[in-house]
Structures are given as structure tokens and as C-alpha cells.
């Protein structure tokens, strides 16, 4: 129940402004994004001015102010992956799904993100599809991967 989870997040943190970022992490992990309501609640309970909570939520990439798509495709754009062709991968994903990095596709199925180095450089270029890591990716492999994800979701959608 959302109300209970928020209570768990606030426990031990009330009136402690320096706990804001940890609290926001918990909100993001539990709810998938930081809602306006969460921002107001955190402001009130932690004792941080509303403007500041909003600033912090908007500053850090880890916190999303809007919900993500059902599948998150993250392309690693670290230097090692870059010299192995990561930009072609990002272009492939954004062109295929017709979406800008960080945004959700119209059908809500995909978000394309880019991250600056996952620390798995020997296996680059790396693409993360939801929680699964894929190594030595090529534009062709990525196209197939996205198609597979999309097909699975469409099937589920039709059954529901």
C-alpha cells in the first residue's frame, strides 16, 4: 500500500534534511518516479523547503519526475564503449523507437536512456535491457532485441 511504504521511507528520517537524497532514492525505487505529492510530503516531513526538494529531485539523473516506459533500454556511452561504436547503438534505438533519449514512446512501452559508464568496459559496447546486461552489441543485434521486447509486450497487451 503506497501510504505504508511512504511511512517506511520516512521512518527515522523526520526532521533530518541531510537524509533527503536517500529518501528520494527509496521513493524512486518503490514508486518508479518522484510524484508531486512525494515532493510535498518529503518537504514537510524532513523539514526541507519545498523549492529545495524540487531542486534536488530535478538535479540528479537517478530521480525521474515522470514514470518510465515498460521497458527501459539503456545504452552505455562510456569512452570505451564509444570507441567501439556506442553512438551508432543509441542512434539505432532512438530511430527505431522514434523517441528522444530520456523520453517514453507514445505507446508507453519503451524508454531509451543513456548512461555514462557501467564499469564493464571489456565487454563493450554494452546495452542494458531492463535488468539484463547485453555485451558486444551491434546495431543489428540491438534492432532484433528491441523488436523481441516489443513483440512480447504486444502479445501480452492483446491477451489482457
Amino acid at each position: 500500500m503506497p501510504a505504508t511504504t511512504m511511512e517506511n521511507i520516512l521512518e527515522g528520517r523526520r526532521s533530518q534534511p541531510h537524509q533527503l537524497i536517500e529518501a528520494l532514492h527509496d521513493v524512486q525505487d518503490n514508486f518508479g518516479y518522484i510524484s508531486e505529492e512525494s515532493i510535498r510530503t518529503l518537504s514537510q516531513e524532513l523539514g526541507v523547503p519545498l523549492m529545495e526538494v524540487y531542486r534536488v529531485a530535478a538535479f540528479y539523473k537517478a530521480f525521474k519526475l515522470t514514470p518510465s516506459g515498460k521497458n527501459v533500454i539503456t545504452v552505455c556511452m562510456g569512452t570505451a564503449c564509444h570507441v567501439r561504436g556506442a553512438r551508432l547503438l543509441l542512434d539505432q534505438a532512438t530511430t527505431q523507437l522514434d523517441v528522444k533519449p530520456g523520453e517514453v514512446t507514445e505507446d508507453g512501452l519503451f524508454t531509451v536512456e543513456h548512461v555514462n559508464c557501467l564499469g564493464a568496459c571489456a565487454l563493450g559496447p554494452v546495452v542494458v535491457e531492463n535488468q539484463t546486461y547485453h555485451d558486444h552489441m551491434t546495431p543489428g543485434k540491438l534492432r532484433n532485441l528491441i523488436q523481441r521486447c516489443g513483440c512480447q509486450d504486444k502479445e501480452v497487451g492483446q491477451d489482457a
Binding site: 534534511p17 533527503l20 538535479f59 551508432l88 559508464c117 564493464a120
Partner: protein, 617 residues
């Protein structure tokens, strides 16, 4: 295990743990580093565990999932002692053979051994493999010895004896003197003399002081800190404790970047274990020293690797740097004296206290002592983590340890120091890895990231890549960084896309120089480095883009054309079928042709063609 209340109790525990391990005849160490994990080393660990149990060897064989061993290109890797047997590209299917042949019968499995590419010979032991032989692994080697989630492993390996020694007999001033004499310099990029930083905090007035471990490792292509923190968190903690004792801090923080969940987890476990044993908390080991550590997560901001931004983040605020006219060693976290050091810097401290400053200073060059872990990646054969003595020439790292170029394309440059560093051309590879020498050459050691580039890397594109990265990560507070980087990017993009003008090169240099001098923090101040260093050493590539409208490396899309090599094409049609833009035409078994008007240069045909017949020029 009960709480330890004295140095004697610590030693008793260590002895009894050693005794418990007497029956162990074999130790199997499997790398659980990031690269090997993706290649499913977890499954391998499970499979081996089952086999060891089912063959009745549970009491005599110790199986350990460790931190990164460094040879990421060959992963999953494992080492078996005794014998120092090294197996690479191991999969869970090999579990039965490994147990029954190697562990039970002592026979080596040839196909799992590493093959030396030069001689074609199989090498049996880890120590003889050229990749390892030419390194000096002081820190990374410790990863073999411990399971990061086991404080017992750390104790058996001699852990916390440095802390014990220091608390028993060294005053804070003694410790600072030793660290200063060792010549340890910050391993995070700044290269600031550690002893001097500690002295400043020690001398600063006040009772409330802090120590921080900067594990925000934001440089793309660098994962050394991750390996040390994930693989051996207790050594980092021990270093922090010694530092806290030296400066008078009671509270420490490890700030781990959000993209390293495993490092966060292992650090948290390590802290809990240390607290349970009484190595963290009140009156540690019966001394007057009380100290505790908290783990904090980053929020996905490269700028939080900068010390004042990191401290703001710890305080729950936006990660905007502030001016450092007064050092953070004097006014840092909550405006109190704070020592902030990098993961690797902290990890070096226990050995310095155990073996002495002279031992540490015996390695390295005159200005840069000790060893450094590097992340060797890019267009090179042996990608992975490498530890060498300071003063080692770049040549040794790239060719002897790295094995030279991958794919046969000649190496052109090496990029060191991440977005704050620069590119050095091949004719500068005789330079030694030394803070001052590299800085003078226009680059820097930085955190240790070393990306190798070959003739298929366009240096204008590299400059653009770093500028885009920095623009994305800039906090935006100050004009030179926010707008200056944007304008540099505007110019470099013009050049990359064929709109460059000759006078823009001088403008780039002047603007870069201005930003370097006026930006508020290190991110902005070093942002021009990639541009300035590529201009210095690869001006010809810039000029080719501007004067000839040509990208020599074949990267910048508006300046290249994809075509099919008539000599190599056999008309198989794979490219035609894979092209999403219907830009390829050809009959079966006939030469195929790319229509340049329709071609979007997406790269799919090139990645699908098995005959290397797609040309880019």
C-alpha cells in the same frame, strides 16, 4: 563472533580462523568482477559448489567468489591454488571436469588454459602470463585472497593488523609523517599529496571532523575504484580508520555512485560486519578511538565527484560546487575540517603503515610513488584492470601488458584521465606514467582510465564526445562552463559536420584557455583538455575536416560514404536484407551496391556482413 575488546583478542581470532582453515587443501578463486558477472560467473560459482559438494570435497576445498582479477577480456577467469593454475573463458559446463580432474587428480585442463598469442603456447600459471607478469599488483592481488562479503577472509589475509599497530603505538602526528614520507598522492585525479591534506585537517581547529571516501568514479571507461571497493571493502575501511585516527575524525562516509549497486551492497555488509566485531564504533579494540562509517549513494551526477559537490550531496543538497578559496580540509562537510580521498588512496594506507614509507617510496618515480591501477580499455587486445608501478612508460602498458592493437588496426592514441584528461599520440608513448610528466604533456593520469584508440577513431569526434559528456554533466552554475563548453561544442560540431572554418581553431584555443582559468570548479577548469590536447597533437585531422571536408578515420557521418568493396563482396545479400532504409541493391551472387542518397549510415550492414566487404571512407 563476539565483539573484540583488545588487540590480543583480534590476534586470537585471527589465529583461530587460520586453524579452522587447516584442513583446506585447495582454494578456488572465481572472479566476480563486473565483466565476469555479465559473462555469468554467478552460474559458474553455483555449478562448482554443487560439484564440490557432490564429490565430497566440501571440507577440503574453499570456493571463493572474489572481486575483479583484472583480466576482463578473458573472463570468466579463475585461479586455483596450490599451483597458481589459471583458467579463462570458464563456463558452468566445465564445473565437473574442473573438480574431478584438477582438484581431485591434480591434472590441468588444457583447453581452459590461456594461450599466448605471440607463441601459441598454453600457459599454466597466472604468474607467467605476460598480462600479469609485467604488472606490479599490490592492491589488485588482494582481490584474490578475499570474498568481499567475508570479514573472516580479510582477517585471515592479515587485515586490520595495520589499524591494530597504529592504535597501539603511533600518534596521529606519527601517522601523518609516515604517509607524507611515503609520497602518496591522491589517486582520484588531483594527485594532491595525501600527507599534506591530512596535516591541514589535523591542524585545523575544532573537534568535529570527517573523513570521506570518494567512490563516485564518474570517468567513463574507468572502473578501478569499483573493483577495489566491491572486491576488498575492508581494506578501504581500514585505510579510512587510520586516516580518521590521524586527523581526529569520529565519523566517516563512503559516497558510492548510484550506478554501482554491488559496491553499495558490499560496503554496507562490510560496515555491518566491522561494527559487529567492534572494529567500528566506540573504543575500538579497547583504545580511546571511536569511529563509525555510513554509506551514502550518489544520484547520478558526474559533478558529484568534485569534493565540494560531493559534500553538498552528502548534506542532502544539490551537487553544485562552491569556490575553494579555503580548502575543504579546513572547511568541508557541514563547514567542518574534512579529509576527502579516493578509494584507491585509502586502500594504499594500511600497507604503508605496515611495511613503512620507505617500502612504498621505493616504487615509482621521483615525483610519483607507489603503484597505480589503470583501466585499460578500447581498441586493444587485453582490456581489463592493470596495476603498475608509477613511472612505467605507456608503451609497456599498451603493448607488453595490453597486447597491442585489437583487430590489426594500428594504434593511434591513448586517452588518459577521462573527460579531464587528454589524448597522447603514439610517439609520446615513451612517456612515463607520472602525475607531473603527463600533465606537462597536456594530459593527466587522472583516475587511471586509459582508452586506446586506433585509426578508426576520429579525434575530432573524440573531442566532441567529451564536450557532449561535460555539457550533460555540468551543473550549470557558472558562465564559462555552462556557456563556454556549449560554444566549444558548437564549433567542434561545425567542424565534424563539415562546416568548419580555419579561424575557428584559434578561437577554440582561446576560449578553452579562458574556461580553464575562470571556471568555478575542476569540471569546468579541465573541460577544455580533450579539445586542447587533440588540437595540439592531431591538428591535421581537424584541418582535414575543415579544408578538405574529409574525416580521415571514417567516423563523422556527414563526411563519409558507405560503399561495398567489389573484391570482397560475394553477393550473399545479407546486407540488402538487413538494411532498414532499402538503400542496397543487387542480384543474388552479384556485386551489391549502396545507394548513397538513401543510406543513413546506421552501421547495420557493416555489422552483419561476414566478409568485411562494407567500406567506410
Amino acid at each position: 563472533m563476539p565483539r573484540l575488546n583488545s588487540y590480543r583478542e583480534l590476534e586470537h581470532l585471527r589465529t583461530s580462523l587460520l586453524e579452522q582453515r587447516q584442513p583446506i587443501t585447495h582454494t578456488v578463486m572465481i572472479c566476480g568482477g563486473p565483466g565476469c558477472q555479465i559473462a555469468h560467473s554467478d552460474g559458474l560459482v553455483d555449478a562448482l559448489q554443487k560439484e564440490i559438494s557432490s564429490q565430497g570435497l566440501k571440507d577440503s576445498v574453499a570456493l571463493r567468489a572474489t572481486g575483479c582479477h583484472g583480466f576482463c577480456e578473458q573472463g570468466p577467469v579463475m585461479v586455483i591454488e596450490p599451483g597458481n593454475i589459471f583458467y579463462c573463458h570458464v563456463s558452468s559446463q566445465d564445473a565437473f571436469e574442473i573438480v574431478s580432474q584438477t582438484l581431485v587428480r591434480g591434472e590441468v585442463i588444457d583447453r581452459l588454459l590461456y594461450t599466448d598469442p605471440a607463441s601459441g603456447v598454453k600457459i599454466q600459471t597466472e604468474a607467467e602470463i605476460p598480462f600479469y607478469r609485467d604488472q606490479d599488483q599490490q592492491l589488485l592481488s588482494r582481490n584474490r585472497l578475499v570474498d568481499p562479503c567475508s570479514i573472516e577472509d580479510y582477517l585471515v589475509a592479515g587485515g586490520y593488523s595495520a589499524l591494530s599497530k597504529v592504535l597501539q603505538g603511533a600518534s596521529p602526528a606519527d601517522v601523518i609523517k609516515e604517509v607524507t614520507a611515503a609520497g602518496l598522492r591522491g589517486r582520484g585525479g588531483g594527485g594532491f599529496p595525501t600527507g599534506r591534506k591530512w596535516l591541514e585537517s589535523y591542524q585545523a581547529p575544532g573537534d568535529e571532523k570527517y573523513v570521506i571516501c570518494n567512490a563516485d568514479e564518474g570517468d567513463p571507461g574507468a572502473y578501478m575504484d569499483r573493483a577495489v571497493l566491491e572486491g576488498n571493502p575492508h581494506q578501504v575501511l581500514e585505510g579510512m580508520m587510520i586516516g580518521a585516527w590521524a586527523v581526529g575524525a569520529q565519523q566517516g562516509y563512503v559516497y558510492v555512485r548510484n550506478e554501482y549497486p554491488l559496491a553499495v551492497q558490499h560496503s554496507r555488509i562490510a560496515v555491518e560486519q566491522a561494527r559487529a566485531l567492534g572494529i567500528l564504533g566506540e573504543n575500538i579494540l579497547g583504545s580511546s578511538f571511536s569511529f563509525d562509517v555510513n554509506i551514502a549513494r550518489g544520484g547520478g551526477a558526474f559533478v558529484c565527484g568534485e569534493s565540494t559537490a560531493l559534500m553538498a550531496s552528502l548534506e542532502g543538497k544539490v551537487g553544485e560546487p562552491r569556490p575553494k578559496d579555503v580548502h575543504t580540509a579546513v572547511e568541508g562537510l557541514y563547514n567542518k575540517p574534512t579529509v576527502l580521498n579516493n578509494v584507491e588512496t585509502w586502500a594504499n594506507v594500511p600497507e604503508i603503515m605496515l611495511r613503512g614509507a620507505d617500502w612504498f617510496a621505493a616504487k615509482g618515480s621521483s615525483g610519483s610513488k607507489g603503484t597505480k591501477i589503470l583501466a585499460l580499455t578500447g581498441r586493444i587486445k587485453n582490456t581489463g584492470l592493470v596495476e603498475v608501478a608509477m613511472g612505467t612508460p605507456i608503451n609497456t602498458v599498451v603493448f607488453d601488458i595490453g597486447g597491442g592493437a585489437a583487430n590489426g588496426h594500428p594504434i593511434k592514441a591513448v586517452q588518459t584521465g577521462g573527460p579531464s584528461g587528454g589524448c597522447l599520440p603514439v610517439d609520446k608513448f615513451d612517456l612515463a606514467l607520472d602525475f607531473d610528466i603527463l600533465a606537462e604533456a597536456g594530459s593527466m593520469i587522472g583516475s587511471g582510465g586509459m582508452v586506446v584508440m586506433d585509426e578508426e577513431s576520429c579525434m575530432v569526434d573524440v573531442a566532441r564526445y567529451f564536450l557532449e559528456f561535460l555539457q550533460d554533466e555540468s551543473c550549470g552554475k557558472c558562465l564559462p562552463c555552462r556557456t563556454g563548453i556549449d560554444r566549444m561544442l558548437e564549433i567542434v560540431t561545425d567542424i565534424a559536420e563539415g562546416r568548419g572554418r580555419p579561424e575557428q581553431l584559434d578561437l577554440l584555443e582561446e576560449l578553452g584557455d579562458t574556461i580553464a582559468q575562470t571556471a568555478l570548479c575542476g569540471l569546468g577548469k579541465t573541460a577544455p583538455n580533450p579539445v586542447l590536447s587533440t588540437l595540439r597533437y592531431f591538428r591535421a585531422e581537424y584541418e582535414a575536416h575543415i579544408n578538405e571536408g574529409r574525416c580521415p578515420a571514417g567516423v563523422c557521418k556527414p563526411l563519409i560514404t558507405y560503399s561495398i568493396d567489389a573484391d570482397k563482396c560475394n553477393g550473399c545479400g545479407v546486407c540488402l536484407r538487413s538494411c532498414a532504409y532499402e538503400a542496397i541493391n543487387g542480384e543474388k551472387k552479384q556485386l551489391h551496391v549502396i545507394n548513397a542518397e538513401l543510406c543513413q549510415k546506421c552501421g547495420i550492414c557493416r555489422s552483419e556482413c561476414k566478409f568485411d566487404a562494407i567500406l567506410v571512407a
